[in-house]
Symmetry: C2
């Protein structure tokens, strides 16, 4: 006898990128920040005591939310802290979407979205992106027609790095009949010259919620800490009803608060990532590999048919050399590799390894 629900039996779980725990592997496959967390994180760990773990943690991460509210110039009740961005995604579905109702997304997109929809037993509407990775020009019309209850948009887009402008986000909120979640997991790496900032829209639109994470921008993927910024009427039921009570442990609350308050350090790492991204992009071009314009901390690189190896072959060969990049065996992505921006040394090693691989075919 199988006790699993039918929808769970039928589905496949989320396939995360490989996570070798050794220090030898050059990990350019899961979009971690290549630089260590802020020194204030170190100091917070040094002050942390075992005894403080004996009691239950602050249930709503009040201190963190206060810091985040100040940083983003919103109110504390516009903020909910979650166990990584993933918990927020799940909670938004749990709170606003009945099983059987449609969840809409672009295709391709963050591959966790359809998995979460399947767990909740919801039909998925996938709307293909335009050729330049922009949102389909009929995206809103299609999602409204499908009576989607939730629209999930990652901006900058994964896996391309394409950036939607604030005006496009505003239009999404304005014209969608559903809750709109903008997943800003990679927002910190956007060039400041682009003047991207959408958060004030949460005061205007009661259907809009933004996702942030400390995994990438703050070099804390191992901490599992993210947050949502949204209209108070969206945040409140998640905070008070559907969230696991005590969803965040004491340690992560203190570390996240420390990291977020050191904007100066974090933005230095973002600046360095942007510099490295430009260099890596140029170096790949010299090898004949072009990438989509990216405002994230990764490049989606296309391995054209005239190159000596396919994307999948490069992925496999790099892995044998202990360099991990991400290959998606999915429509529209089979000739591409998603490469996380590493340190200068890591990127150099990637380039010289690909060069060596290619040259063996000459």
């Amino acid at each position: 006898m199988k006790f699993e629900r039918p929808n769970i039996q039928q589905m496949t779980g989320y396939a995360a990128g490989e996570q070798p725990q050794d220090e030898k592997t050059i990990k350019l496959n899961t979009n971690e920040n290549p630089y260590p967390p802020s020194p204030v994180v170190d100091e917070t760990i040094k002050r942390f005591t075992a005894t403080s773990l004996r009691r239950y943690p602050p249930p709503t991460a009040a201190k963190f939310r206060s810091i985040a509210a100040k940083l983003h110039q919103v109110e504390e009740n516009n903020i909910i802290a979650t166990r990584g961005g993933d918990e927020l995604l799940r909670l938004v579905i749990t709170t606003f979407v009945d099983p059987g109702e449609t969840i809409a997304m672009s295709e391709p997109t963050y591959s966790l979205y359809p998995v979460l929809a399947q767990i909740h037993n919801c039909p998925i509407l996938k709307v293909p992106l335009e050729a330049n990775w922009a949102l389909n020009k009929d995206f809103i019309k299609k999602t409204n027609q499908a009576q989607a209850k939730l629209v999930l948009v990652v901006n900058p887009h994964a896996p391309s790095g394409h950036l939607l402008e604030p005006a496009e986000i505003k239009q999404l909120a304005e014209l969608s009949n559903s809750v709109v979640l903008i997943d800003e997991a990679y927002v910190d790496f956007i060039d400041p010259a682009r003047q991207y900032d959408c958060l004030s829209l949460v005061k205007e639109y009661n259907n809009l919620i933004f996702l942030r994470t400390l995994s990438k921008g703050y070099s804390l993927a191992g901490l599992r800490f993210g947050y949502g910024i949204g209209h108070e009427t969206l945040i409140s039921p998640i905070m008070n009803k559907t969230r696991d009570s005590y969803n965040l442990d004491l340690f992560s609350q203190q570390i996240a608060t420390a990291a977020l308050s050191d904007q100066n350090y974090a933005s230095q790492t973002w600046h360095k990532v942007r510099e490295q991204k430009q260099k890596l992009d140029q170096a790949l071009i010299t090898l004949g590999i072009k990438s989509a314009p990216s405002e994230a901390n990764f490049l989606l690189a296309t391995l054209n048919a005239d190159l000596p190896m396919t994307a999948q072959q490069v992925y496999v060969a790099l892995k044998q050399q202990h360099i991990l990049v991400r290959y998606f065996d999915a429509p529209g992505l089979q000739d591409k590799l998603r490469i996380t921006i590493g340190t200068a040394e890591e990127n150099d090693q990637l380039i010289s390894t690909i060069k060596r691989l290619f040259s063996s075919f000459q």
Copy 2:
């Protein structure tokens, strides 16, 4: 416009016990262990580095599961590590119960169970306990008749501390048509003379899963770490499909592994809690307050009508004196207080404060 699902609009969230963050309050309201965590937890914190947080954590908590499997003499694929016991409860519902299907429990029980059922939009069957807090003698018949898909039983029982024998658990698994979750949050405090141990049943029954937590027995409520021990066919879909990917951060995995491996220290705290429980029980009796026999780290104390104050009055008056105990405004519990076993000093202060309160009525 309200975007909440109808079942979420209608429900009330879980009311957690108060969590003052000051050190002055004597907290006997949420069943924390009164003694600090093991010294190896201290050492693990001292060795922990900020840099290690940069990468994603081990996705399935393999090291912890290996230690837990050895401790409980089961296989690693019988174990799933979760963010506190609460995450396991939610995941078991998500994995095995369709919305609209019945979840069964005794009444009273852990007050989170009905909240989780409401979030999942499931009818709840509440079967009243016998007068001595034992499971209703028709419990299995009633849950099968109601076609319950999941039965939630906390053992030792909360809030009474009543212990079901292994033979009763075996019968539950044997005769129930549903998945049976035995919530052993308080199992560590059971008198070893009772020779309670049910875990080997997971090899025999494919519908049985046990919940454990490090919050109480290992003095780590602030860490949010628990685990499930169950038949492989129950563990596998949770592990591979419904669990949030990376549900456990690196720090908590290392701390939990350290704490679980120091059984010697932990069992000393359990022994001290049992000693203090006996003393507190006796001291309450001298004040005319009788408690149910408890194998947990709390006492459910009855304030009879012939005493000078009601349970609620004592709760309020103690709170004014910075002593927190738990009062449940629920059927069958309104004349009772649930009192967590504290240190000798904390228990003494509780007793002397109640004595003073009562004497002001003479």
